[in-house]
């Protein structure tokens, strides 16, 4: 019985790991900018931000 040992799951290459990390950091930064933007505009608009007429 020739049972070749297979790795558990998919093993990423170094290049794949590096690009994934780079993409993850970019997504984190983009989300961070979005949070800061919403916070800043809330401060700028003040209480008016609560008025949302349809």
């Amino acid at each position: 019985m020739d049972e070749k040992r297979m790795p558990d799951g998919i093993v990423l290459t170094e290049a794949q790991k590096r690009s994934r990390r780079q993409r993850s950091i970019a997504i984190a930064l983009a989300l961070g900018v979005l949070v800061v933007l919403f916070f800043a505009v809330t401060i700028v608009k003040g209480p008016v931000v609560l008025l949302r007429p349809m």
């Binding site: 019985m1 070749k4 297979m6 794949q16 690009s19 993409r23 933007l37 919403f38 505009v41 700028v44």
Partner: protein, 311 residues
């Protein structure tokens, strides 16, 4: 004995795309022109806009334009591979799949529209959504592979950013942003047909019915000349109509004379390297023409502010 043949299992594709590949999907050069024209729309709008809201508006318009670019590339992955101008884009190079580009574009489109609507106003948000829809669905999916008028009608999408910016600044629309829209709208055909004249082999290979491919170079030269006449007239009109000041009017006349001279040159020189040089010069000058026209509008605002500060 294993009952699973591991060699028969198709492993999922693991992306090696880097951030730069995703940035390339946003068409940074187109985006820079969008940012600039939107900035002009925002600055010339009456009233005061808080810098944070101004920044938010420009950011959302830029990201919305990038989303349009990504969705355009996702749809055109097949023809991009056939043209030398676009063969190096991330999808033809195999860096990003069309599905990944579609998901990326849709997410950016959603966030840009919603952020602009929630943080600035919903008129601007709705106009941005319409711009993305027009570019992706009307231009890319419907017109581009179907009619030689593709860039004439599709040019509306590229002309909308200053209108969106004006709406972001004022919450309404008026004649000035419509004039900016018309200038970019009538600038688009001479600009892209000049490009198509010296890239017609590329477009023919990809099966895109650009005017030089469908109607021939001579008919395209005539159309370029006619659209340039309309463009120059429309670009000057806001001055006598009283919408923009004399600095803009005189600059527009001078730049318009340059555009006309180059368009006439393209019309007259039809053979050999002189014809090629004429179209390349018109293409390059058309970029400068639009940039200079809009920069003059910015300059007018600055001059007006300085004059008001002085006395």
């Amino acid at each position: 004995m294993s009952v699973v043949d591991h060699n028969a299992i198709e492993l999922p594709r693991i992306s090696e795309a880097e951030v730069g590949d995703y940035l390339a999907l946003l068409k940074p050069r187109v985006m820079s022109l969008v940012i600039f024209t939107a900035l002009v729309g925002l600055v010339i709008a009456p009233g005061h806009v808080h810098p944070i809201l101004a920044f938010t508006s420009i950011l959302c318009i830029a990201v919305g334009a990038g989303a349009s670019g990504a969705l355009n590339m996702a749809y055109e992955g097949d023809i991009d591979a056939l043209m030398s101008r676009t063969a190096n884009r991330p999808i033809p190079r195999g860096r990003i799949t069309r599905e990944e580009a579609t998901a990326f574009g849709l997410i950016l489109a959603f966030f840009s529209v919603m952020t602009l609507g929630i943080l600035v106003n919903w008129l601007a948000g709705a106009l941005l959504a319409f711009t993305i829809f027009f570019y992706v669905v009307i231009y890319t999916m419907a017109l581009k592979r179907w009619t030689a008028q593709n860039i004439v009608i599709g040019g509306a999408a590229g002309a909308l950013p200053p209108v969106v910016a004006w709406a972001a600044a004022t919450g309404s629309l008026s004649m000035e942003p419509v004039l900016l829209f018309l200038i970019i709208f009538f600038w688009t055909p001479p600009h892209f047909w000049a490009l198509a004249l010296f890239r017609s082999d590329d477009y023919a290979r990809a099966g895109i019915p650009m005017l030089p491919v469908v109607a021939g170079p001579d008919a395209t030269r005539l159309q370029i000349l006619l659209y340039t006449i309309v463009l120059v007239a429309i670009a000057v009109a806001p001055w006598p109509l009283g919408y923009f000041d004399a600095i803009y009017g005189i600059t527009s006349l001078v730049l318009g004379a340059g555009m006309m001279a180059l368009a006439i040159n393209v019309y007259r020189r039809r053979e050999g390297s002189t014809a090629l040089r004429a179209t390349r010069r018109l293409f390059a000058f058309s970029i400068f023409y639009l940039f200079a026209l809009f920069a003059t509008l910015l300059l007018e605002v600055v001059v007006r502010a300085v004059m008001a500060a002085i006395g």
